[in-house]
Subunit: 235 residues, 2 copies
Protein backbone atom coordinates (compact mmCIF):
# COMPACT_ATOMS: atom_id res chain seq x y z
CA UNK A 1 0.00 0.00 0.00
CA UNK A 2 1.23 3.46 -0.86
CA UNK A 3 1.47 5.90 2.04
CA UNK A 4 0.35 9.51 1.72
CA UNK A 5 2.53 12.28 3.09
CA UNK A 6 1.08 15.75 3.59
CA UNK A 7 3.62 18.54 3.92
CA UNK A 8 4.32 21.97 2.45
CA UNK A 9 5.54 21.43 -1.11
CA UNK A 10 8.40 23.93 -1.41
CA UNK A 11 10.63 23.34 1.61
CA UNK A 12 12.37 20.31 3.10
CA UNK A 13 11.16 21.39 6.56
CA UNK A 14 10.01 18.78 9.03
CA UNK A 15 8.58 16.72 6.20
CA UNK A 16 12.06 15.80 5.04
CA UNK A 17 12.69 13.74 8.17
CA UNK A 18 9.67 11.66 7.22
CA UNK A 19 10.64 11.45 3.54
CA UNK A 20 14.08 10.11 4.44
CA UNK A 21 12.56 7.39 6.61
CA UNK A 22 10.03 6.41 3.96
CA UNK A 23 12.74 6.26 1.30
CA UNK A 24 15.19 4.33 3.47
CA UNK A 25 12.43 1.96 4.54
CA UNK A 26 11.45 1.20 0.95
CA UNK A 27 7.91 2.49 1.58
CA UNK A 28 6.19 3.96 -1.48
CA UNK A 29 4.49 7.29 -0.83
CA UNK A 30 2.55 10.06 -2.48
CA UNK A 31 3.95 13.47 -1.62
CA UNK A 32 0.48 14.86 -1.94
CA UNK A 33 0.98 18.60 -1.69
CA UNK A 34 3.83 18.36 -4.21
CA UNK A 35 1.49 16.53 -6.57
CA UNK A 36 -1.64 18.63 -5.90
CA UNK A 37 -0.39 21.94 -4.51
CA UNK A 38 -0.42 23.66 -1.13
CA UNK A 39 -4.14 24.42 -1.54
CA UNK A 40 -4.90 20.72 -1.46
CA UNK A 41 -2.97 20.43 1.82
CA UNK A 42 -4.93 23.27 3.41
CA UNK A 43 -8.17 21.64 2.24
CA UNK A 44 -7.09 18.25 3.54
CA UNK A 45 -6.19 19.74 6.94
CA UNK A 46 -9.82 20.88 7.29
CA UNK A 47 -11.15 17.35 6.83
CA UNK A 48 -13.04 15.73 9.67
CA UNK A 49 -10.71 13.09 11.08
CA UNK A 50 -10.57 10.87 14.17
CA UNK A 51 -6.96 11.94 14.75
CA UNK A 52 -6.71 15.47 13.35
CA UNK A 53 -3.25 16.99 12.87
CA UNK A 54 -2.41 20.35 14.39
CA UNK A 55 0.05 21.01 11.57
CA UNK A 56 1.91 19.21 8.77
CA UNK A 57 3.69 16.88 8.37
CA UNK A 58 1.19 14.08 8.75
CA UNK A 59 1.22 10.66 7.22
CA UNK A 60 -1.60 8.36 6.15
CA UNK A 61 -0.32 4.82 6.41
CA UNK A 62 -1.70 1.39 7.30
CA UNK A 63 -5.14 2.87 7.90
CA UNK A 64 -3.82 5.42 10.43
CA UNK A 65 -3.24 9.16 10.18
CA UNK A 66 -0.32 10.29 12.34
CA UNK A 67 1.02 13.83 12.81
CA UNK A 68 4.08 15.16 14.65
CA UNK A 69 7.42 14.16 13.14
CA UNK A 70 8.57 12.27 16.22
CA UNK A 71 5.37 10.23 16.40
CA UNK A 72 5.44 9.45 12.68
CA UNK A 73 9.02 8.25 12.89
CA UNK A 74 8.38 6.21 16.02
CA UNK A 75 5.52 4.54 14.18
CA UNK A 76 7.68 3.79 11.14
CA UNK A 77 10.35 2.55 13.50
CA UNK A 78 8.03 0.10 15.18
CA UNK A 79 5.80 -0.99 12.29
CA UNK A 80 8.27 -0.85 9.41
CA UNK A 81 11.54 -1.95 10.94
CA UNK A 82 13.25 1.44 11.17
CA UNK A 83 14.17 1.14 14.85
CA UNK A 84 15.56 -1.51 17.17
CA UNK A 85 13.00 -4.07 18.32
CA UNK A 86 14.19 -4.36 21.93
CA UNK A 87 12.40 -1.97 24.31
CA UNK A 88 15.52 -0.06 25.37
CA UNK A 89 16.55 0.58 21.77
CA UNK A 90 13.08 1.44 20.58
CA UNK A 91 12.49 4.05 23.28
CA UNK A 92 16.00 5.40 22.90
CA UNK A 93 15.37 5.95 19.17
CA UNK A 94 12.31 8.05 20.05
CA UNK A 95 14.24 9.90 22.75
CA UNK A 96 16.98 10.77 20.25
CA UNK A 97 14.41 11.77 17.66
CA UNK A 98 12.78 14.19 20.09
CA UNK A 99 16.19 15.61 20.99
CA UNK A 100 16.83 16.19 17.28
CA UNK A 101 13.41 17.87 17.09
CA UNK A 102 14.54 20.23 19.86
CA UNK A 103 17.60 21.30 17.84
CA UNK A 104 15.44 21.73 14.75
CA UNK A 105 13.07 24.01 16.65
CA UNK A 106 15.98 26.04 18.03
CA UNK A 107 17.58 26.34 14.58
CA UNK A 108 14.28 27.72 13.30
CA UNK A 109 13.86 30.12 16.20
CA UNK A 110 17.29 31.63 15.54
CA UNK A 111 15.90 33.39 12.47
CA UNK A 112 12.45 33.92 14.02
CA UNK A 113 13.13 34.65 17.69
CA UNK A 114 10.26 37.09 18.17
CA UNK A 115 7.54 35.28 16.28
CA UNK A 116 6.82 33.02 13.33
CA UNK A 117 4.11 35.32 12.05
CA UNK A 118 6.56 38.22 11.58
CA UNK A 119 8.99 38.56 8.69
CA UNK A 120 12.67 37.84 9.23
CA UNK A 121 13.35 41.41 8.14
CA UNK A 122 11.41 42.65 11.16
CA UNK A 123 13.53 40.73 13.65
CA UNK A 124 17.07 40.76 12.26
CA UNK A 125 18.57 42.49 15.28
CA UNK A 126 17.05 39.92 17.62
CA UNK A 127 18.05 37.10 15.28
CA UNK A 128 21.68 38.21 15.38
CA UNK A 129 21.65 38.06 19.17
CA UNK A 130 19.93 34.66 19.13
CA UNK A 131 22.41 33.31 16.57
CA UNK A 132 25.36 34.14 18.80
CA UNK A 133 24.21 31.84 21.56
CA UNK A 134 23.06 29.15 19.17
CA UNK A 135 26.45 29.06 17.42
CA UNK A 136 28.57 29.35 20.54
CA UNK A 137 26.70 27.12 22.96
CA UNK A 138 23.81 25.19 21.53
CA UNK A 139 25.34 23.63 18.40
CA UNK A 140 28.38 22.34 20.31
CA UNK A 141 26.23 21.07 23.18
CA UNK A 142 23.90 19.10 20.90
CA UNK A 143 26.61 17.77 18.56
CA UNK A 144 28.73 16.84 21.56
CA UNK A 145 25.83 14.83 22.92
CA UNK A 146 25.36 12.87 19.69
CA UNK A 147 29.12 12.36 19.42
CA UNK A 148 29.12 10.85 22.93
CA UNK A 149 26.22 8.54 22.06
CA UNK A 150 28.10 7.35 18.96
CA UNK A 151 31.30 6.87 20.96
CA UNK A 152 29.38 4.64 23.33
CA UNK A 153 27.68 2.42 20.75
CA UNK A 154 30.88 2.18 18.72
CA UNK A 155 28.97 0.90 15.71
CA UNK A 156 28.78 4.13 13.74
CA UNK A 157 25.04 4.30 14.48
CA UNK A 158 23.13 5.86 17.36
CA UNK A 159 21.00 2.97 18.57
CA UNK A 160 22.95 -0.20 17.88
CA UNK A 161 24.39 -2.34 15.10
CA UNK A 162 22.10 -0.98 12.38
CA UNK A 163 20.83 2.47 11.36
CA UNK A 164 17.46 3.66 12.70
CA UNK A 165 15.22 6.63 11.95
CA UNK A 166 17.29 8.64 14.44
CA UNK A 167 20.42 8.24 12.31
CA UNK A 168 18.61 9.42 9.20
CA UNK A 169 17.36 12.47 11.07
CA UNK A 170 20.77 13.30 12.53
CA UNK A 171 22.21 13.22 9.00
CA UNK A 172 19.60 15.72 7.82
CA UNK A 173 20.05 17.91 10.88
CA UNK A 174 23.79 18.13 10.27
CA UNK A 175 23.22 18.91 6.60
CA UNK A 176 20.85 21.68 7.63
CA UNK A 177 23.32 23.13 10.11
CA UNK A 178 26.02 23.12 7.41
CA UNK A 179 23.66 24.93 5.06
CA UNK A 180 22.60 27.55 7.59
CA UNK A 181 25.89 28.04 9.43
CA UNK A 182 28.67 27.02 7.00
CA UNK A 183 31.40 29.03 8.71
CA UNK A 184 30.54 27.81 12.18
CA UNK A 185 30.20 24.19 11.09
CA UNK A 186 33.51 24.31 9.19
CA UNK A 187 35.17 25.65 12.33
CA UNK A 188 33.89 22.94 14.67
CA UNK A 189 33.06 19.84 12.65
CA UNK A 190 36.49 18.36 13.41
CA UNK A 191 35.39 18.11 17.05
CA UNK A 192 32.66 15.64 16.09
CA UNK A 193 34.28 13.01 13.87
CA UNK A 194 31.68 10.35 14.61
CA UNK A 195 28.80 12.66 13.77
CA UNK A 196 30.56 13.58 10.52
CA UNK A 197 31.18 9.92 9.70
CA UNK A 198 27.51 9.12 10.36
CA UNK A 199 26.58 11.83 7.88
CA UNK A 200 28.74 10.24 5.19
CA UNK A 201 27.41 6.79 6.02
CA UNK A 202 23.78 7.87 5.64
CA UNK A 203 24.55 9.82 2.46
CA UNK A 204 25.85 6.63 0.88
CA UNK A 205 23.28 4.16 2.27
CA UNK A 206 22.23 1.90 -0.61
CA UNK A 207 18.61 2.35 0.51
CA UNK A 208 18.88 6.14 0.13
CA UNK A 209 21.19 6.77 -2.82
CA UNK A 210 18.44 6.94 -5.40
CA UNK A 211 16.20 9.18 -3.30
CA UNK A 212 18.99 11.58 -2.38
CA UNK A 213 19.89 12.07 -6.05
CA UNK A 214 16.27 12.54 -7.10
CA UNK A 215 14.21 15.71 -7.30
CA UNK A 216 11.98 14.26 -4.59
CA UNK A 217 14.57 15.63 -2.17
CA UNK A 218 13.96 19.36 -1.95
CA UNK A 219 17.00 21.62 -1.49
CA UNK A 220 17.36 23.85 1.53
CA UNK A 221 16.08 27.37 0.94
CA UNK A 222 15.22 30.57 2.80
CA UNK A 223 11.57 29.64 3.36
CA UNK A 224 12.47 26.59 5.41
CA UNK A 225 13.79 25.77 8.86
CA UNK A 226 17.48 25.93 7.98
CA UNK A 227 18.16 29.26 6.26
CA UNK A 228 21.45 30.67 5.17
CA UNK A 229 21.53 34.28 6.27
CA UNK A 230 25.23 35.25 6.16
CA UNK A 231 24.73 37.83 8.90
CA UNK A 232 23.78 35.04 11.32
CA UNK A 233 26.90 32.96 10.68
CA UNK A 234 30.50 33.30 11.89
CA UNK A 235 33.31 30.87 12.66
CA UNK B 1 9.19 -1.44 41.90
CA UNK B 2 9.65 2.24 42.65
CA UNK B 3 10.53 4.41 39.66
CA UNK B 4 13.17 7.12 39.88
CA UNK B 5 12.50 10.54 38.39
CA UNK B 6 15.36 12.94 37.80
CA UNK B 7 14.38 16.56 37.33
CA UNK B 8 15.33 19.99 38.68
CA UNK B 9 14.02 20.18 42.24
CA UNK B 10 12.63 23.73 42.44
CA UNK B 11 10.33 24.11 39.41
CA UNK B 12 7.39 22.16 38.01
CA UNK B 13 8.92 22.45 34.53
CA UNK B 14 8.74 19.52 32.17
CA UNK B 15 9.11 17.14 35.09
CA UNK B 16 5.60 17.96 36.24
CA UNK B 17 4.07 16.29 33.18
CA UNK B 18 5.82 13.10 34.25
CA UNK B 19 4.87 13.48 37.91
CA UNK B 20 1.20 13.83 37.03
CA UNK B 21 1.30 10.64 34.97
CA UNK B 22 3.12 8.70 37.68
CA UNK B 23 0.66 9.89 40.31
CA UNK B 24 -2.42 9.22 38.18
CA UNK B 25 -1.03 5.82 37.23
CA UNK B 26 -0.49 4.82 40.84
CA UNK B 27 3.24 4.34 40.20
CA UNK B 28 5.46 4.96 43.23
CA UNK B 29 8.49 7.12 42.49
CA UNK B 30 11.50 8.77 44.05
CA UNK B 31 11.80 12.41 43.05
CA UNK B 32 15.54 12.08 43.36
CA UNK B 33 16.78 15.63 42.97
CA UNK B 34 14.16 16.79 45.47
CA UNK B 35 15.43 14.18 47.91
CA UNK B 36 19.16 14.60 47.21
CA UNK B 37 19.56 18.07 45.68
CA UNK B 38 20.35 19.46 42.25
CA UNK B 39 24.00 18.46 42.66
CA UNK B 40 22.99 14.81 42.72
CA UNK B 41 21.12 15.32 39.44
CA UNK B 42 24.14 16.89 37.77
CA UNK B 43 26.28 14.02 39.02
CA UNK B 44 23.77 11.45 37.83
CA UNK B 45 23.62 13.05 34.37
CA UNK B 46 27.36 12.40 34.00
CA UNK B 47 26.94 8.66 34.60
CA UNK B 48 27.85 6.27 31.84
CA UNK B 49 24.54 4.94 30.50
CA UNK B 50 23.41 2.92 27.50
CA UNK B 51 20.67 5.49 26.83
CA UNK B 52 22.08 8.79 28.10
CA UNK B 53 19.70 11.74 28.50
CA UNK B 54 20.48 15.07 26.86
CA UNK B 55 18.60 16.87 29.64
CA UNK B 56 16.15 16.19 32.47
CA UNK B 57 13.50 14.95 32.96
CA UNK B 58 14.45 11.32 32.70
CA UNK B 59 12.87 8.34 34.35
CA UNK B 60 14.34 5.05 35.51
CA UNK B 61 11.59 2.48 35.37
CA UNK B 62 11.22 -1.23 34.61
CA UNK B 63 14.97 -1.51 33.97
CA UNK B 64 14.93 1.27 31.36
CA UNK B 65 16.13 4.87 31.47
CA UNK B 66 14.04 7.13 29.24
CA UNK B 67 14.45 10.87 28.65
CA UNK B 68 12.33 13.40 26.73
CA UNK B 69 8.91 14.08 28.24
CA UNK B 70 6.99 12.81 25.22
CA UNK B 71 8.92 9.54 25.14
CA UNK B 72 8.53 8.99 28.90
CA UNK B 73 4.78 9.56 28.69
CA UNK B 74 4.39 7.35 25.64
CA UNK B 75 6.20 4.62 27.56
CA UNK B 76 3.96 5.05 30.61
CA UNK B 77 0.98 5.08 28.27
CA UNK B 78 1.93 1.79 26.70
CA UNK B 79 3.44 -0.09 29.63
CA UNK B 80 1.33 1.25 32.49
CA UNK B 81 -2.10 1.72 30.99
CA UNK B 82 -2.08 5.50 30.61
CA UNK B 83 -3.06 5.53 26.94
CA UNK B 84 -5.54 3.72 24.69
CA UNK B 85 -4.43 0.24 23.66
CA UNK B 86 -5.64 0.39 20.05
CA UNK B 87 -2.98 1.63 17.61
CA UNK B 88 -4.90 4.72 16.45
CA UNK B 89 -5.50 5.87 20.02
CA UNK B 90 -2.01 5.10 21.22
CA UNK B 91 -0.31 7.05 18.42
CA UNK B 92 -2.81 9.87 18.75
CA UNK B 93 -1.95 10.20 22.44
CA UNK B 94 1.71 10.63 21.52
CA UNK B 95 0.82 13.06 18.72
CA UNK B 96 -1.20 15.18 21.18
CA UNK B 97 1.56 14.98 23.76
CA UNK B 98 4.10 16.31 21.25
CA UNK B 99 1.71 19.10 20.28
CA UNK B 100 1.43 20.03 23.96
CA UNK B 101 5.25 19.98 24.12
CA UNK B 102 5.30 22.50 21.26
CA UNK B 103 3.07 24.90 23.21
CA UNK B 104 5.22 24.41 26.30
CA UNK B 105 8.37 25.30 24.33
CA UNK B 106 6.68 28.37 22.86
CA UNK B 107 5.44 29.49 26.29
CA UNK B 108 9.01 29.26 27.54
CA UNK B 109 10.46 31.11 24.57
CA UNK B 110 8.09 34.03 25.13
CA UNK B 111 10.16 35.08 28.14
CA UNK B 112 13.45 33.92 26.62
CA UNK B 113 13.16 34.75 22.91
CA UNK B 114 16.83 35.59 22.37
CA UNK B 115 18.43 32.79 24.35
CA UNK B 116 18.05 30.55 27.37
CA UNK B 117 21.53 31.42 28.60
CA UNK B 118 20.68 35.13 28.94
CA UNK B 119 18.70 36.64 31.81
CA UNK B 120 15.10 37.65 31.25
CA UNK B 121 16.13 41.17 32.22
CA UNK B 122 18.39 41.30 29.17
CA UNK B 123 15.61 40.46 26.72
CA UNK B 124 12.49 42.16 28.10
CA UNK B 125 11.91 44.28 25.00
CA UNK B 126 12.07 41.22 22.76
CA UNK B 127 9.93 39.24 25.20
CA UNK B 128 7.21 41.90 25.02
CA UNK B 129 7.11 41.60 21.24
CA UNK B 130 7.10 37.81 21.42
CA UNK B 131 4.29 37.82 24.00
CA UNK B 132 2.02 39.84 21.72
CA UNK B 133 1.97 37.18 19.05
CA UNK B 134 1.79 34.35 21.55
CA UNK B 135 -1.24 35.87 23.27
CA UNK B 136 -3.04 36.98 20.12
CA UNK B 137 -2.41 34.05 17.80
CA UNK B 138 -0.72 31.07 19.32
CA UNK B 139 -2.76 30.49 22.50
CA UNK B 140 -6.09 30.65 20.62
CA UNK B 141 -4.77 28.44 17.82
CA UNK B 142 -3.57 25.72 20.17
CA UNK B 143 -6.57 25.85 22.54
CA UNK B 144 -8.91 25.89 19.55
CA UNK B 145 -7.27 22.74 18.29
CA UNK B 146 -7.70 20.89 21.59
CA UNK B 147 -11.28 22.16 21.84
CA UNK B 148 -12.01 20.69 18.40
CA UNK B 149 -10.47 17.35 19.38
CA UNK B 150 -12.66 17.26 22.49
CA UNK B 151 -15.75 18.22 20.49
CA UNK B 152 -15.08 15.29 18.21
CA UNK B 153 -14.56 12.62 20.88
CA UNK B 154 -17.49 13.94 22.90
CA UNK B 155 -16.34 12.04 25.97
CA UNK B 156 -14.69 14.89 27.82
CA UNK B 157 -11.29 13.30 27.11
CA UNK B 158 -8.91 13.73 24.19
CA UNK B 159 -8.34 10.15 23.10
CA UNK B 160 -11.52 8.24 23.89
CA UNK B 161 -13.75 7.10 26.72
CA UNK B 162 -11.08 7.35 29.41
CA UNK B 163 -8.34 9.87 30.31
CA UNK B 164 -4.84 9.35 28.97
CA UNK B 165 -1.46 10.98 29.64
CA UNK B 166 -2.40 13.64 27.05
CA UNK B 167 -5.36 14.78 29.16
CA UNK B 168 -3.18 15.11 32.25
CA UNK B 169 -0.69 17.19 30.28
CA UNK B 170 -3.36 19.43 28.77
CA UNK B 171 -4.64 20.13 32.29
CA UNK B 172 -1.17 21.21 33.41
CA UNK B 173 -0.59 23.26 30.26
CA UNK B 174 -3.81 25.18 30.83
CA UNK B 175 -2.91 25.75 34.48
CA UNK B 176 0.45 27.08 33.36
CA UNK B 177 -1.12 29.41 30.82
CA UNK B 178 -3.50 30.73 33.49
CA UNK B 179 -0.55 31.35 35.80
CA UNK B 180 1.57 33.11 33.18
CA UNK B 181 -1.16 34.97 31.29
CA UNK B 182 -4.06 35.43 33.75
CA UNK B 183 -5.58 38.40 31.94
CA UNK B 184 -5.41 36.80 28.52
CA UNK B 185 -6.77 33.48 29.73
CA UNK B 186 -9.63 35.16 31.61
CA UNK B 187 -10.52 36.99 28.42
CA UNK B 188 -10.65 33.91 26.18
CA UNK B 189 -11.31 30.85 28.32
CA UNK B 190 -15.02 31.08 27.59
CA UNK B 191 -14.21 30.23 23.98
CA UNK B 192 -12.90 26.81 25.04
CA UNK B 193 -15.54 25.30 27.36
CA UNK B 194 -14.44 21.71 26.72
CA UNK B 195 -10.81 22.48 27.50
CA UNK B 196 -11.93 24.22 30.69
CA UNK B 197 -14.13 21.27 31.65
CA UNK B 198 -11.26 18.85 31.05
CA UNK B 199 -9.15 20.94 33.42
CA UNK B 200 -11.77 20.61 36.15
CA UNK B 201 -12.17 16.90 35.47
CA UNK B 202 -8.45 16.22 35.82
CA UNK B 203 -8.21 18.43 38.92
CA UNK B 204 -10.82 16.22 40.61
CA UNK B 205 -9.68 12.80 39.33
CA UNK B 206 -9.74 10.44 42.31
CA UNK B 207 -6.34 9.14 41.17
CA UNK B 208 -4.83 12.64 41.43
CA UNK B 209 -6.57 14.35 44.33
CA UNK B 210 -4.03 13.33 46.94
CA UNK B 211 -1.04 14.24 44.77
CA UNK B 212 -2.42 17.61 43.74
CA UNK B 213 -2.98 18.59 47.38
CA UNK B 214 0.46 17.39 48.47
CA UNK B 215 3.74 19.27 48.56
CA UNK B 216 5.06 16.88 45.92
CA UNK B 217 3.35 19.18 43.43
CA UNK B 218 5.60 22.22 43.09
CA UNK B 219 3.93 25.59 42.52
CA UNK B 220 4.59 27.65 39.41
CA UNK B 221 7.34 30.22 39.88
CA UNK B 222 9.56 32.59 37.94
CA UNK B 223 12.38 30.08 37.42
CA UNK B 224 10.17 27.71 35.46
CA UNK B 225 8.58 27.47 32.05
CA UNK B 226 5.37 29.32 32.90
CA UNK B 227 6.31 32.64 34.49
CA UNK B 228 4.03 35.44 35.50
CA UNK B 229 5.62 38.65 34.26
CA UNK B 230 2.77 41.20 34.31
CA UNK B 231 4.36 43.18 31.48
CA UNK B 232 3.91 40.18 29.18
CA UNK B 233 0.20 39.78 29.86
CA UNK B 234 -2.86 41.68 28.61
CA UNK B 235 -6.49 40.81 27.89
Amino acid sequence: MTATLWYWPSIPGRGEFVRLALAAGGIAWHDSARELGAGALIEDMAQDRATPPFAPPYLEIDGLTIAQTGAILAYLGEAHGLAPTDPAGRWFALQLQLTIADVVAEAHDVHHPVGTSLYYEDQIAEAKRAAEGFRAERIPKFLGYFEAVLARTGTGWLTGPRWSHADLSLFHLVQGLHYAFPQRMAAIEGDYPRVTALGHAVATLPELVEYLASDRRIGFNEDGIFRHYPELDAP
